[in-house]
């Protein structure tokens, strides 16, 4: 950061004073983050990077082991399996949950009376404790008596083994994940409220169809929020843990999910805290970090084509 500031200090004519004061003020505004970053993120990251090249069981002092942990990443079949599971989940969960959240937000946006009630109702699943949600969904998704398959039976469809058939475990989890889009709904709703009503009125006068209004007005004007939601959901979905852990891996182990429901963070948690391979778990964490980093960089690059900011 010092270098950045020094470079800005290079004397320039005219605007250099303003430039300089902008730089100083900008740095002042971001300083809380920077201090916290050094103490609580950068420092610990260096330590964790060091652990990832060590043998560390939390109990004995770490012992340098070179790239052994990273080599193990390449040969451990569960790395590929669990990464594949997490990608499968992210690939389906992210678009589905954003579409779902957008539909709900648009519905809420048009609700006049008792809007507060409906907003709260849509937010409810995200604040119901995981213990209750996990237990409940094992019931709802039960292949024989669950409401989901009973609903499908009404249309003559024989529902799959959501909680018992390995090929249907992940779709079942994705189905469950769509319940907790409440946070995304709120973000999108706030964005929708920010779209000036006049734009729609003008479009109505011009005779634009609902779909055209949606693609030409709504989407561009909330694209900043959509982008945010896309990034955050991608990152979050690759780190899915709590719900699946309580459903299939906690005290109520279920054999059906042991391979097909083994998500990357669940395997990482096991290595770290159940098997005490903290060094290997650190290497796993770094691998995931790098993967997410690359994905986000790609998303940031692509976003320049479709995200629209009024201010810039």
């Amino acid at each position: 950061m010092a270098t950045a500031a020094q470079e800005m200090d290079r004397p320039r004519k005219g605007r250099s004073n303003i430039q300089r004061s902008e730089t100083l003020a900008g740095l002042a505004f971001i300083s809380p983050w920077f201090i916290g970053f050094l103490i609580f993120t950068a420092g610990p990251m260096v330590i964790s990077l060091a652990l990832s090249v060590s043998d560390y069981d939390v109990i004995h002092p770490p012992q340098f082991s070179g790239l052994a942990n990273y080599q193990q990443l390449l040969t451990d079949p569960r790395i590929g399996l669990s990464l594949g599971n997490s990608f499968y989940y992210a690939l389906l969960h992210v678009p589905l949950s954003i579409i779902m959240a957008l539909v709900l937000a648009m519905i809420l946006h048009r609700v006049g009376k008792a809007a507060g009630f409906f907003r709260t109702a849509f937010y409810l699943p995200t604040i119901t404790p995981a213990v209750a949600v996990g237990t409940l969904f094992l019931w709802l998704l039960n292949p024989r008596v669950g409401l989901v398959n009973k609903g499908l039976a009404l249309f003559g469809i024989v529902g799959p083994g959501w909680t018992t058939d390995p090929t249907w475990i992940k779709p079942g989890i994705i189905l469950m994940s769509l319940w907790s889009v409440g946070g995304t709904v709120i973000l999108l709703l706030a964005a929708l409220q920010g779209v000036p009503e006049q734009l729609y009125e003008a479009a109505n006068i011009d005779g634009a169809s609902g779909w055209t209004q949606f693609t030409k007005i709504t989407v561009p004007l909330i694209s900043g929020t959509l982008f945010f939601v896309l990034i955050v959901n991608t990152i979050g979905s690759l780190q899915i843990f709590t719900e699946v852990y309580t459903m299939y891996f906690g005290k109520q182990q279920s054999g059906a999910a042991s391979s097909s429901g083994l998500f990357y963070n669940i395997y990482l948690f096991r290595q770290a805290f159940e098997f005490l391979h903290m060094g290997y778990a650190s290497a796993m964490a770094w691998l995931l970090f790098v993967i997410i980093l690359i994905l986000t960089a790609i998303q940031l690059r692509v976003s320049r084509r479709w995200v629209y900011y009024e201010g810039s």
């Binding site: 043998d55 069981d57 939390v58 109990i59 004995h60 094992l138 039960n142 292949p143 024989r144 008596v145 083994g161 909680t163 018992t164 058939d165 390995p166 182990q253 279920s254 054999g255 059906a256 042991s258 391979s259 097909s260 096991r270 805290f273 159940e274 098997f275 005490l276």
Partner: protein, 471 residues
């Protein structure tokens, strides 16, 4: 694993029952106080004099107060150590919580943990060997059951003081037997062809139309039982060599899986089993949803509470030679390296697992059961002498209900026929590896041989690494 307060549906509303409940659980946040000792000591053996030399604090992890089995014994231990202040941290043992505290040099003074998990930590030098403690406190290790002691012994040193002890037996739905024209004598697990036949005879429906499972092999968790019954073992006695792809294991797994295949596959069975009202009055026995199955003893307590009149019977599980066997799980007290008060911790563990403490707990349980009029099946412990005192000394009255009296007798007869997985430093990981292997077969992803070959390799690598680290 105690099921103490089987409140009766309506009577629970009455203030009397409520008062009892409150008395049994006097506020989770409070430290146990010596005053709460109540009328304990009525039927007690001669209690040793309190140890006033020990003082200071004891910080717990993994042990929450709760039912009378816990509180009564804590009261007793506190009375034995009047100058020690006990601080309980509610909730079960949590690896994350423990490890972060340990890594920062701030471990609890005493830990309550399952015997299986204990091995991993003991071999990693997280827990102290208790040789000194046992000598100083003059703890008679012969009072604990051998299986329980073996499970907490690593490299010749004891790392835990055994607490609860869970045996396993067959629970039988006698209505299913009647329907098929069978009697209790026909229920026998020593001949596997016969067992497969029984399964067929008792099963009603198939796959998605299954309405009664004939027999449940309880995979993946009970594979060790099947292997043992087949004369094999999954891990050498010294805990160093995995034997997961030995013919006995492969054969045992293939047979146990075939039980499910006969009923239409594991997935369909699981879907059916998940619908059972397992802890309710219309559980799978009165609802006639199963023929018979091996199960831990605590479930007898559940049945006694919720469906005392169900058509149920109990028998030991037998190996191929007809000998009763029981796969045992349990819990123990351990003292982390870095404990600030190891002497008091040791004395506390001794007091909690003593005959006197268990007898006091069994009395409290008996009183409570008598008060709400439910069946008392007693308390089964890792302490042989305590079991003798509890069941031989009139604390647990003979049960009018023949079935449950027989169940208690079966458990008592099984207590010395138990076996457990040998202690090893990769305990949790080893278990995960073989359970995953079973799951792969149940899910049709691999054959038993393939899956166990893979597991064998993984397990041996894990064991070698863990033993290498611990030595």
């Amino acid at each position: 694993m105690q099921f103490s307060k089987w409140l009766k549906p309506v009577a629970v509303a009455s203030t009397a029952a409520l008062a009892l409940l409150v008395f049994a659980a006097p506020g989770m946040a409070q430290d146990a106080t010596p005053e709460a000792t109540s009328d304990m000591g009525m039927m007690m053996m001669e209690a040793p004099a309190p140890n006033t030399d020990l003082s200071g604090e004891l910080n717990f992890m993994g042990f929450g107060l709760g039912d009378e089995i816990a509180t009564t014994r804590v009261d007793y231990a506190q009375a034995q150590l009047p100058n020690v202040t006990l601080h309980f941290s509610e909730g079960g043992f949590d690896a994350q919580q423990f490890l972060t505290a340990f890594a920062s040099g701030n471990p609890p003074d005493i830990v309550y943990i399952s015997q299986q998990t204990l091995g991993t930590y003991a071999a990693n030098d997280t827990f102290m060997p208790l040789d000194q403690c046992i000598a100083d406190q003059d703890i008679d290790m012969s009072q604990y059951r051998d299986v329980a002691v073996n499970q907490v012994t690593i490299n010749g040193s004891v790392y835990g003081i055994p607490e609860f002890y869970n045996s396993l037996m067959l629970i039988i739905n006698t209505k299913a037997l009647d329907d098929a024209g069978l009697t209790l004598d026909d229920v026998d697990t020593s001949d596997w062809n016969h067992l497969a036949e029984l399964n067929q005879q008792l099963t009603v429906g198939n796959g998605n139309s299954l309405t009664r499972m004939g027999f449940d092999a309880k995979l993946p968790e009970f594979l060790p039982l099947w292997v043992r019954a087949n004369g094999g073992q999954m891990l050498s006695d010294d805990g160093k060599t995995a034997m997961l792809n030995s013919p006995e294991v492969v054969q045992a797994l293939e047979f146990a899986v075939s039980i499910y295949d006969e009923q239409g596959g594991f997935a369909a069975m699981k879907a059916f089993r998940d619908t059972w009202d397992f802890f309710g009055s219309n559980n799978q026995v009165p609802a006639d949803q199963i023929g018979f199955w091996p199960m831990e003893q605590w479930y007898m307590n559940v049945l006694a509470g919720v469906s005392p009149d169900a058509p149920v019977a109990f028998k030991p599980f037998t190996d191929k030679d007809g000998n009763p066997i029981s796969y045992v799980t349990g819990s123990a007290w351990a003292i982390p390296v870095g404990s600030k008060n190891p002497e008091a911790a040791c004395a506390f563990a001794k007091a909690m697992t003593s005959v006197n403490a268990w007898v006091a707990a069994a009395e409290a349980r008996a009183e409570k059961r008598a008060a709400d009029g439910s069946i008392n099946t007693g308390v089964f412990t890792g302490n042989r002498l305590a079991d003798e005192a509890i069941f031989g000394g009139g604390i647990v009255a003979p049960i009018d209900n023949q079935a449950f009296q027989q169940g208690v007798d079966v458990i008592l007869s099984l207590q010395d026929h138990g076996f457990a997985m040998p202690a090893n430093p990769a305990g949790t990981e080893f278990q995960q590896i073989w359970q995953d292997a079973v799951n792969r077969v149940l899910n049709g992803e691999q054959t038993a041989q393939e899956s166990l070959d893979q597991a064998q390799q993984e397990a041996q690598t894990a064991l070698d690494a863990a033993w290498g680290q611990s030595s």
